[in-house]
Subunit: 429 residues, 2 copies
């Protein structure tokens, strides 16, 4: 299956289950090595959680010898690479350091991609993943974009469940419903050759780590709560470009963005609002998607976000879920909508900072929020554009109505307050 | 010193020596651990050389605890990070795998950059680096672009020499003049926190590896010699963009380019000729800079290459050297120029594929070549643009006159046939 075809599949809404197995990634071959040195689970909201480094007891590891791709092979090594073709045996091993040669592709050429997802301990006592099929399919798309091997995403989903079946009960105890772990699948180019081309060996691994809830605005180092994100619109730094890779969750989109975000933090802003082009198109915020709710000049209420067409923004799983829920629940006559709230029109199209500023000047902005796995649904409280900061309404409190409703609906799904196909139960012993 | 200032310094031609020490990188603190298991040096042009993985006996390693930069620190860990601030003791240790936590920034967020340089065993028996000050200064620029710490490049140059003083005699024996090793300094984000921000720990390392001579067109796996590179001009894939990071030698420029280069190789092309914008500006080729020599419509001979102004192409050390040599030696009345060869005008400006195609149609193209550390000076034999391939003159043989002259002059400097300030001698015991 070509990169183009796969890309089309995973971006066109076709379910991941329909993508056939390209390599022999096979969850049924899983080998498990249980740890002899159990790790300590950090207390809720403790320093350990905020450190984002206290991984769970085990790592899911999947090494591969990929097909020969180095441009200047020696005949001896050619055989070795071809012999090792395809995905190996998936293993669950005790958490610990990776051994990586200094020549490995992932350290030099950013042959790396990852997923961000969470696993939730529900109020019904069950463990749930949220739409894991979408994350697994996107990891395949991202892998292909940086010349890493593709795989059957259905098998990866099985492996994620297997890892959580082992570490879930201890790290997300049933006695603490409403908590979550951050799951990080990653694919990296490995091996020993420094040549500038697709890596001949690849490692897929998955770790799970307690993660702070970034959506509330509470920072334990200051014990201050500041709901709402302040965004700095960046005119000079461009995150992505048509013909580039902004749509893929590849490492190359992140490291180069840190200069702008660090500068933003120094100026008192939580995230960068990434703009594109001479007309300052609004794309995404930080590492999250960005939504505005405004009243149009014609008096319609509208939820607007940047489109996927030009492939410069990430096809966020939360973004997609927000759009789908809004289409279903913010419409005229919805039982979910408060009777005193106007229904919304849901729009994906290119929009510019000029439109945002005009709407602000005419008091037409109702709310804004970001969506993503790390920040979930977090309202935006202010935007700085061209050295001028303007505030965004937040319903007079910690969130506006629409962001609040979306967050509650999604939490109900994730924590099992309602039955919904997006909340995928992980069986435990 | 801010990123902007540094950037300006290293891009404006100011010598690296004038950049003050920003962190306490100090070559005089170097600690050396000699190997107890000497590695085998591969034979010249053997499979081992073409594998690009047979590193020398030792690695130069420099771990750092950088200043606190994670946005959501816990108070306990804050102290730990601040205590470890600044560059640690440089060490030379036996070559071997790195131990990297699965949460390390370099594996997920492409917080990584590198340099490509070579060390040469001269015909006078001496070891030489080629303009190492420029590579060391560029590594500082690249580090800053992906939020890695900056350092005094002069200290790094001292450390490179210390590494080669240990491994040079064995891996580049005096009995084999005219050979070289590839030197790879790299800076990677390390540490244990998965948070999406600048890494709190950093590792600088340097390895040296035998590397094939890619400039001759000889491939040992087929034993066929095909001088000249065939380039595929890419209309759909964009390597870099204004406001991005195309000027820096960061991993993020490489991995995402492999899809296009692999597709190119399948179609029979050695490298991608990267274009930019709706007018198909010619930027660089593969991971090398790109030059054309043509006759203008007015009848002038001209050497043309893309400019550095918009920061989308790499500021190549070989590119800079080609321009400086051309300015000095291809001018009217130069003693270096054959009497029957017309002098050149040297031009750095944006030029487009339309200009190239017009020059081809009017038989005005004289030569084209790429420049870089890996490919040195390699002539271009053909370009495919919009499904049409056209050939480029190569002087009727293995190289055109100008590419040939530049290559010879640079080799004379690198291998000590002439004394030149660009050839920096590495003292040996």
């Amino acid at each position: 299956m070509s990169v183009e075809t796969l890309d089309h599949l995973t971006h066109s809404g076709i379910e991941a289950q329909k993508i056939p197995a390209m390599q022999d990634l096979d969850a049924s071959k899983l080998a498990i090595e249980l740890t002899k040195s159990p790790r300590k689970v950090p207390e809720l909201n403790s320093a350990g959680v905020w450190s984002c480094k206290e991984c769970t007891d085990h790592t899911l590891e999947l090494a591969s010898k990929n097909k020969l791709s180095f441009a200047y092979p020696s005949s001896v090594l050619t055989v070795t690479w071809l012999e090792g073709k395809g995905w190996g045996t998936p293993k669950i091993v005790p958490y610990g350091p990776l051994t990586i040669m200094p020549t490995a592709s992932c350290l030099h050429y950013a042959t790396q991609c990852f997923e961000g997802m969470k696993i939730y301990r529900g109020y019904d006592g069950k463990l749930r993943l949220f739409r894991p099929d979408r994350n697994c399919a996107r990891l395949v798309t991202s892998s292909a974009r940086v010349s890493l091997p593709i795989f059957n995403p259905v098998e990866l989903e099985k492996l994620l469940k297997a890892l959580m079946k082992i570490d879930g009960a201890k790290w997300l105890p049933k006695s603490e419903p409403g908590n979550f772990l951050y799951l990080r699948p990653a694919v990296i180019g490995n091996g020993e050759q420094l040549g500038v081309s697709a890596p001949p060996e690849v490692l897929l691994f998955v770790i799970a780590v307690p993660w702070p809830d970034l959506s509330t605005g509470w920072n334990p180092s200051t014990d201050k709560k500041a709901p709402g994100l302040k965004l700095l619109a960046s005119k000079n730094d461009t995150r992505a470009w048509p013909g580039g890779f902004g749509y893929a969750k590849v490492g190359a989109n992140y490291g180069p963005s840190f200069v702008a975000s660090t500068e933003g933090r120094k100026k008192g802003y939580d995230q960068i609002l990434w703009l594109f082009g001479p007309d300052y198109q609004v794309t995404e915020a930080g590492a999250s998607n960005f939504f505005i709710i405004w009243t149009t000049k014609e008096g319609k209420m509208q939820l607007i976000t940047a489109p996927l067409d030009d492939k410069i923004i990430l096809d966020g799983v939360t973004r997609r879920s927000v759009l789908e829920l809004a289409h279903e629940r913010f419409i005229v006559g919805s039982e979910y909508l408060d009777s005193n709230i106007k229904p919304l029109e849901v729009v994906e199209r290119t929009f510019t900072m000029a439109e945002v500023v005009e709407a602000k000047n005419e008091n037409r902005i109702v709310e804004a929020f970001v969506s993503g796995t790390a920040y979930f649904i977090t309202p935006v409280s202010a935007i700085n554009f061209q050295e001028e900061e303007f505030s965004i309404p937040m319903g007079g409190g910690e969130t506006g109505y629409f962001a609040g409703a979306l967050k509650k609906w999604l939490m109900d799904i994730k924590y099992g307050n309602v039955d919904h196909p997006w909340g995928v139960i992980v069986e435990e012993d």
